[in-house]
Symmetry: C2
Subunit: 354 residues, 2 copies
């Protein structure tokens, strides 16, 4: 097998996405010229970047199970990114987030478009409607890309059950996340469960297994990838929790402390509530979901999370889970050259700044 | 071939949906017990009825092309209903509609659930989030049902391009519909184009072709079904326009005049604006999209639409398009026994009261 690098994998994924999405945008424009603003916006959104974690993990799962690099597989793996784009567009709408991938979220973009065009009716409703439809479109494109990837029917049949589980676990995790923020109670076990669904499974374990299944991997390797992926996914989510509160806005592309304003009941928040005193607890509870918090209020919460030791505990957990995932990777049947790339990805997933 | 009736076709579709959806709901409950309210609500919503036009047309397309009745095909055709459920859930959210299929729309149901459970945060946001996620779930279930239907790979490959087009045309039509209501201008040609995408193609032509493709129909029959389906679909949409304004609330399951409050710029509205005088035009324009219109205001608009002749013109167009579709059906290569069932469906689609 020719030597593979993360860069070459990323390039293949990017090329697959770009080719597919451009074709789809053109097709929309041919249906009706009035579709141009949405075809342009959705394709730019998809191609504007993002970490492509899921397709890259999927491709590495395929290569790690002994598959040989193949543009058809890159296309099949790129399909996972389109599921993810749907999740991002709909998630930002549900959370009322203004920014994503260093640009406006879709609902805000079209809300502004409505305002500028002086359209009738509510610009907020218009933005929300466009975001709902563009998320839907990305979701239907995802399975079209998978099925038109050119992979063999047998490969498809092996990978499909995992694809289905992945999408379902994503929706389930998203719902439980929404529920958690309205129930207004934090519990370490609930936060962990949601993190496991949303990140452990959806972001890492399932993509790896999806790729491995495409190469007809045996159950032992699928299980190895599960062990590696779940531990790493939990660490990935904890890093997300930290970035959602301590992230640098000009690096993450999202305002600092956004998770507080959105009332996200992450494991980091559960750890904080466990450790802080009663007045601190009341302050934090009052701040969660408070859309209008200013920067000094956010700074106070950041300070609280650090001071009580929850931030440090979170970092310790990340390091521990990372080590555990590395051990699992080492013991796995994954081929050695790909183990090195997976270790690189694991570092990127847990030590990232965005 | 054993004799087929619309009832037997409907029963097969219903059984397929029911079996699939119950399995999916159970799977969600196994992921997490907190998912029970949404698995219950979504499965009840799907199984609560609906006309099942799209799966029935698809199955008749299959039989009309010479296919023999087969539970695998019923399952594949039932997948179209799940696409439609996504469209309904998301459409009601975008339009702010309270009722559907004689029950609450999903976003209202969960908004009320939030209120009753005294959850934190905005109950409206919560309802909207659940509706977004349940629509997404129904959409991903649709292709899972199609792919797990058990049909042969060759059949799948023949039908998939049509399935993709259908979903894309649906999203495109929905977007153009939203756009039309905010642009605040009515045009007969735009209204017709949107009606063609949303109903002509999505509701009838594509389902028929999808079914025909499953039985490996030749291009001539696909074209025949297109001619029958497009004319019928336009008539179907015009009936929808009339029901959206003149429908009996206790039959349609939606309040009378709902399309006026939602500001829908249908062909019926375009015909009215073309025929009425200036003060009437101003009244209608002012009323479109006005959520708070009371019943007497709605009655005034109904009266206006009748008086200016737009209602009668709409009925004439429906009759004309119906006749045209019957002529096309007669000339088609569809097998005779199924022609009779398609004619029955055509009557149901254009002479319905809900």
């Amino acid at each position: 097998m020719p030597s593979t690098s993360l860069n070459s994998v990323r390039t293949e994924i990017e090329d697959s996405l770009s080719f597919f999405v451009k074709g789809k945008a053109e097709k929309l424009n041919n249906i009706d010229e009035y579709l141009q603003p949405i075809s342009k916006s959705l394709s730019e959104y998809i191609l504007a970047g993002g970490k492509r974690f899921r397709p890259v993990f999927a491709y590495l799962g395929f290569l790690g199970a002994g598959g040989a690099a193949d543009p058809k597989i890159a296309r099949a793996c790129a399909a996972l990114e389109l599921v993810h784009v749907c999740a991002l567009i709909h998630d930002d709408l549900m959370d009322g987030s203004d920014t994503r991938r260093n640009r406006q979220s879709i609902h805000r973009e079209f809300q502004n478009y409505h305002d500028e065009a002086k359209y009738f009716g509510s610009s907020e409703n218009y933005g929300a409607s466009v975001a709902i439809l563009l998320g839907d479109l990305s979701l239907v494109w995802s399975d079209e890309l998978l099925f038109s990837s050119g992979i063999a029917t047998e490969q498809l049949n092996q990978a499909l059950p995992i694809f289905y589980d992945m999408r379902e676990e994503l929706m389930a995790g998203q719902y439980l996340d929404v529920l958690e923020s309205v129930i207004g109670k934090s519990s370490k076990s609930r936060s962990s469960k949601i993190a496991q669904l949303k990140s452990g499974k959806y972001s890492i374990e399932r993509p790896l297994q999806f790729g491995a299944a495409l190469s007809g991997a045996n159950p032992k390797l699928l299980d190895d990838f599960s062990k590696f992926g779940l531990a790493l996914g939990e660490a990935f989510q904890l890093r997300d929790d930290l970035l959602g509160i301590f992230g640098e806005p000009n690096v993450t592309g999202k305002p600092s402390g956004d998770d507080i304003r959105e009332g996200k009941r992450t494991l980091l928040i559960a750890l904080t509530l466990e450790r802080c005193n009663e007045p601190e607890r009341r302050l934090l509870e009052k701040s969660l979901g408070e859309k209008t918090l200013d920067n000094s209020a956010i700074a106070e919460i950041q300070e609280l999370i650090s001071r009580c030791g929850a931030k440090g505990e979170c970092e310790r957990l990340i390091a521990e889970l990372f080590d555990q995932s590395m051990e699992n990777l080492e013991k796995s049947d994954c081929i050695d050259e790909i183990k090195a790339l997976l270790a690189e990805m694991a570092k990127a997933a847990t030590q990232r700044e965005k």
